[in-house]
């Protein structure tokens, strides 16, 4: 066991840090043009879009999870822009690399990497949530175009996106899963209506999207007709990984400890209260176990080994810890719980933790609910029989 970086990785770390010193200044953060230039330079240096081949605008590096970790941490350390955020980069690009046609890769990947194309994910429907494969949005091939009719929901940021990748029922006579295809289309067209939904915390991040004869060219299908379920599987896997970063849990926990140091409880810093200390230490045990399981996974990934059941647990652990932190935070901030945080009037104080109560619930729902996740751990991880 050795948690230190090897000589070659230390050298790489130094190289990345030198690159950042020469190419990034924090005052560039508000300049979109400077940010795109920086992303291009960083991609040229091999630090961004490492898994995307150069012909599609990436840097085509061989996989190295430790280098990826070094880049992530070094970039985060100076708040330098990383890869374009969102489901386009996280989900669609890996899916296209796996299953897309040559033409699709060329037309969509480079523009997604630059942010010109911003993607919405059209999966859930009002009648198809956890039972996603029961979806009913219909696609018919008419005169060289797909005509799409139906509705999607919980579509994050659809109102800010240019395109959608969606699961659509194109083979009504085939089985539940075998009738689904994976289609791409533009959102800015007459057949598409987008209505943002107001969330419990007042934000409007996800939307309902209605289709009335929305159109997509015939060859904007990824994989064959009826293969959509299989195609989407590679995508979901990528999302699970991205939600499961243990270091995020640790960062959140460290912020709570900071809050407890500066909040006064019974005329003393809250961190000195025995109940608060016990609660925080209890969460810390959980956070550290999650983080150490993360080290193990990283070590397995680096050696090309399978981490086993803990690889299925990241999302649940993150979610549960998020809930524990929300509950402990509400004890720490006391009557600040009575105030709704409002980011429009400046930086909120302790009441910002009220948002954690609500956002930690979103984590239990998005990307597969916790109840479904527990089924997956039980069936795939523990080998229990399926329902």
């Amino acid at each position: 066991m050795d948690l230190e970086l090897s000589e070659s990785h230390l050298a790489f770390q130094e190289e990345v840090e030198n690159f950042l010193v020469s190419n990034w200044r924090s005052d560039l953060a508000k300049d979109p043009e400077a940010i795109s230039v920086f992303r291009r330079t960083a991609t040229g240096a091999g630090y961004l879009y490492r898994n995307v081949p150069e012909i599609y605008g990436g840097s085509g590096q061989s996989p190295d999870v430790l280098k990826a970790k070094i880049i992530r941490e070094s970039f985060a350390g100076v708040r330098a822009p990383r890869e374009m955020p969102g489901v386009g980069m996280m989900m669609l690009v890996p899916t296209l690399l796996d299953c897309g046609s040559e033409l699709q890769k060329q037309s969509f990947i480079p523009r997604t990497l630059t942010g010109e194309y911003r993607w919405a994910q059209g999966y859930s429907e009002p009648g198809a949530g956890s039972d996603l494969a029961s979806l009913r949005t219909k696609g018919e091939l008419v005169d060289g175009h797909w005509l799409i009719n139906g509705q999607k929901i919980w579509t994050t940021m659809a109102h800010k996106c240019t395109h959608m990748f969606a699961l659509v029922r194109t083979e009504p006579d085939a089985g539940k899963h075998a009738g689904i295809s994976y289609l791409l289309f533009e959102l800015d067209q007459p057949g598409v209506t987008i209505r943002p939904l107001k969330q419990m915390n007042g934000d409007k991040e996800f939307c309902e999207v209605f289709f009335e004869d929305a159109r997509a060219p015939a060859d904007w299908i990824v994989g064959e007709r009826g293969e959509g379920w299989r195609v989407s599987k590679s995508t979901l896997k990528h999302e699970r990984n991205s939600v499961g970063a243990a270091s995020g849990s640790k960062d959140l926990f460290d912020k709570l400890v900071k809050q407890a140091r500066k909040t006064t409880l019974n005329e003393r810093p809250a961190i000195e209260d025995p109940l608060v200390r016990d609660r925080l230490a209890k969460i810390q045990g959980h956070v550290m176990a999650h983080l150490c399981a993360g080290y193990y996974q990283l070590s397995c990934d680096a050696g090309g080994a399978d981490a086993g059941i803990v690889g299925l647990m990241n999302k649940m652990n993150t979610t549960v810890i998020g809930h524990e932190i929300a509950a402990a935070a509400s004890e720490v901030i006391g009557d600040s719980n009575l105030q709704m945080p409002d980011y429009k009037v400046g930086r909120p104080g302790a009441e910002k933790w009220v948002n954690q109560q609500m956002l930690s619930l979103a984590a239990a729902l998005g990307g597969g609910t916790s109840n479904i996740n527990l089924n997956i751990i039980a069936e795939r991880g523990l080998g229990l029989p399926r329902d």
Binding site: R277, Q284, G285, N317
Partner: protein, 356 residues
Amino acid sequence: MDFHLSEEQEMIRDSLVGCYSQCNSDELLVQKYDREPALDDELWRAQLALGLTGVMVPESLGGLGMDLLTLAVAAEVSASYAVATPMEYQCLAAWAIACSDSQTLIETWLQPIVLGEKIATLALSDEGAEGGPDSLSTHDGATVSGIRRFVPFAAEADIAVLTLGDGKLGLVELRHDSVVREAVAPLDRSRPVCHLRLDSTPVVIFPEALAQRLYDAALILHAASAFGAAKRCLDMSVEYAKVREQFGQLIGQFQALKHQLAHMALDTEPARFLYWYAAHCWDIETEDARQMAALCKAHLGEVAVDTARAAVEVHGGIGFTWELPIHIWLKRAMADSAIYGTPARQRARSAELARW
């Protein structure tokens, strides 16, 4: 960056599994459990044959020169087979003597302990190295008096390594006339305990202040042992859910059971890597090593008791019986959780050590 056991560590683990699954199978374990609680001679000889006692003793002094992580992994395996020997205490006593910087201690005791000719235990205060209400006192530096409660395997041990407060360690011979070993009915029959009453008992004080390191190492070993118990309870529960039928189907098909088992796994599986990490921190003496030892003991102690209790629930009525061995691991988990300071006590220490 490598967060894996070494090949050598895996080899030791596998050879222990091989040994215990033969000599301490569940059937044998259940038979043995009705005997008077005592050191299991057969398993003790098997452990000695593997050379485990010297695992943390430097090679220059005839040991294997390995680390606490290795011993912690061995402790996990011993726990998962509920092995009734003082191996972990013997190994830590050997380590402390080897590091004592005292020629007398090393020459007199190290070899007999490594060879298993003498049995050693630890008599640590719940208060760790800092002393505390049950701390033994030594006025003259040559004898020690007082009571130390719940000392594991004290009935069989020849010597005990004691914490004496102020970071000091001492060694006493338990066969001395001044020592009274008061029998206690142990909760965990695989690790019998005695109260030690010392009355002007001759003591050799260790020149090196090793009490803190020894206490932290003992916390980590009990955390590893708690993990072994939790993992065993989880595995038994999962296996049972795959064979037991009710309402015309396997109970493992019911979501209520699936979710209960998934939660047990979520608590247990990642915790293995916390005890690995705490042991590694102890081995390379990181700044937060002491805090990690306390946090790891608190976390594993609680996870193990919760998981063992849930395992009883999964099994239904049979889980509450003496004939099904789950209670053996529930009791081991309860003992691991309580010894040297309960989870809440360890969390308070962890908070202190984190400078909160």
